[in-house]
């Protein structure tokens, strides 16, 4: 607490810097996810602290930190503001994005709403493009059960290639299993089995052209494929954050700017302009979310569930 919306991103990054220097035993765990999925409730359950929860004014705008002890180890949990996407539109979303992308957490937990898993998978898949150290926490399992929605967590984990754990944060169910998954990933990262989204031949050819120059210029902890994709779509805000994180501007690197031009020319040949490119990328991710959700989510007695859904929305 005590960080303003504007300074939080930098503050968190500094905190991480201090952490690497002084307290190498402490691992940093980011709790990220769409708005209102129970991140702060989970944070409170894990740390014993009391972050404000609920719809409004419970909205988290700063990155509160707290300690969770699990089997002789301390984990610094960071409660990240809710966001639908790593393409930030607001100050809070920027804080979330910068922490996930450049804060170098040891583990990022994507907290998802079990009652509408599909939409939540968008952020999960965007995040696995940035880092392989992701645990999917499917929260609100109690609500899902009420709505007769069941989720095959094992299949979900296999499809995404990351651990998936079910929780009901309000009644503190599943928190131990979640910490187990976090600990396992933090201590010994398993082979990288992440589901890799590909964007079609044209875009992939452009990425292949650009990626080696990008990889040369980046420190090891930043994924060069992900940065190449952002350069291609011209995500100006993200690239500005990346520049301030690296203390240098990749787009003026002669090797990169030349390849970027070539890649742009390649895409122009195939009639894929920048706006188009962005649409194609998001569409690929959304379609992947759709097909994964179709495989892992089952709604029993659909008619009943739909009516139920509508009624309780009117009541709240």
């Amino acid at each position: 607490m005590g960080l303003t919306g504007r300074s939080t991103g930098a503050g968190l990054l500094n905190c991480r810097g201090i952490h690497t220097q002084n307290e190498s035993e402490q691992l940093i765990v980011a709790l990220a996810g769409n708005p209102n999925v129970g991140k702060s409730t989970l944070f409170n359950g894990l740390t014993g602290l009391n972050q404000h929860t609920g719809n409004w004014p419970g909205k988290t705008v700063t990155g509160a930190r707290g300690i969770c002890r699990h089997k002789d180890k301390s984990y610094v949990m960071v409660d990240i503001p809710g966001t639908y996407s790593l393409m930030a539109n607001s100050a809070e979303e920027e804080v979330a994005r910068d922490f996930i992308c450049f804060g170098r957490p040891d583990v990022t937990v994507i907290v998802a709403d079990a009652t509408c898993l599909e939409r939540n998978l968008n952020l999960a898949l965007q995040t696995t493009e940035v880092t392989g150290r992701v645990v999917l926490c499917v929260n609100l399992m109690d609500e899902a059960k009420k709505k007769k929605i069941s989720i095959d967590l094992e299949l979900l984990s296999r499809r995404l290639g990351i651990p998936a754990v079910g929780t009901s944060a309000r009644s503190k169910k599943g928190l131990d299993a979640l910490m187990e998954a976090i600990a396992a990933l933090a201590e010994e990262p398993p082979a990288d089995k992440r589901l890799r989204i590909t964007y079609g031949d044209e875009i992939e050819a452009a990425v292949s052209l650009l990626k080696p120059a990008v990889a040369d210029a980046l420190p090891e902890h930043i994924d060069s494929r992900w940065v190449s994709l952002r350069l291609l779509e011209g995500d100006v805000k993200l690239l500005a954050s990346l520049s301030s994180h690296l203390s240098r501007d990749l787009t003026v690197d002669p090797g990169i700017s030349q390849k970027l031009e070539e890649a742009g020319a390649l895409l122009n040949h195939t009639d894929i302009g920048r706006d188009n490119l962005r649409d194609m990328m998001v569409t690929r991710i959304v379609k992947t979310c759709e097909s994964v959700a179709r495989e892992v989510v089952t709604v029993k007695k659909e008619g009943y569930a739909e009516r139920d859904h509508r009624i309780d929305r009117f009541l709240t």
Binding site: Y84, S85, M87, N89, D113, T115, C116, L117, E118, R119, N122, D275, R278, D279, V282, T283, V286, K287, C289, E290, A293, V297, R310, R313, F314
Partner: protein, 82 residues
Amino acid sequence: MNNLYNGQIPLNMLPVGKKAVVTSLTSDGVNRRRMLDLGIIDGTEIEPLYKNPSGNPVAYLIRGAVIALRSDASERILVSIL
């Protein structure tokens, strides 16, 4: 019903209880990206669930999630009624 643009209507004209599929987005930049990130792409099914008495915003069922959109966003989503 309304046949403003070859059978397409802006989402804000879709009555509660009717289902429709998205045929195109007319927004650009940040607003377009926001819609895409909510899973609103060509072919996505959308159903208005209920309106605020003033008519704004409207709560829509989109990919199993309930999302409230104001008319300045929904008028830039063209749909075709199912």
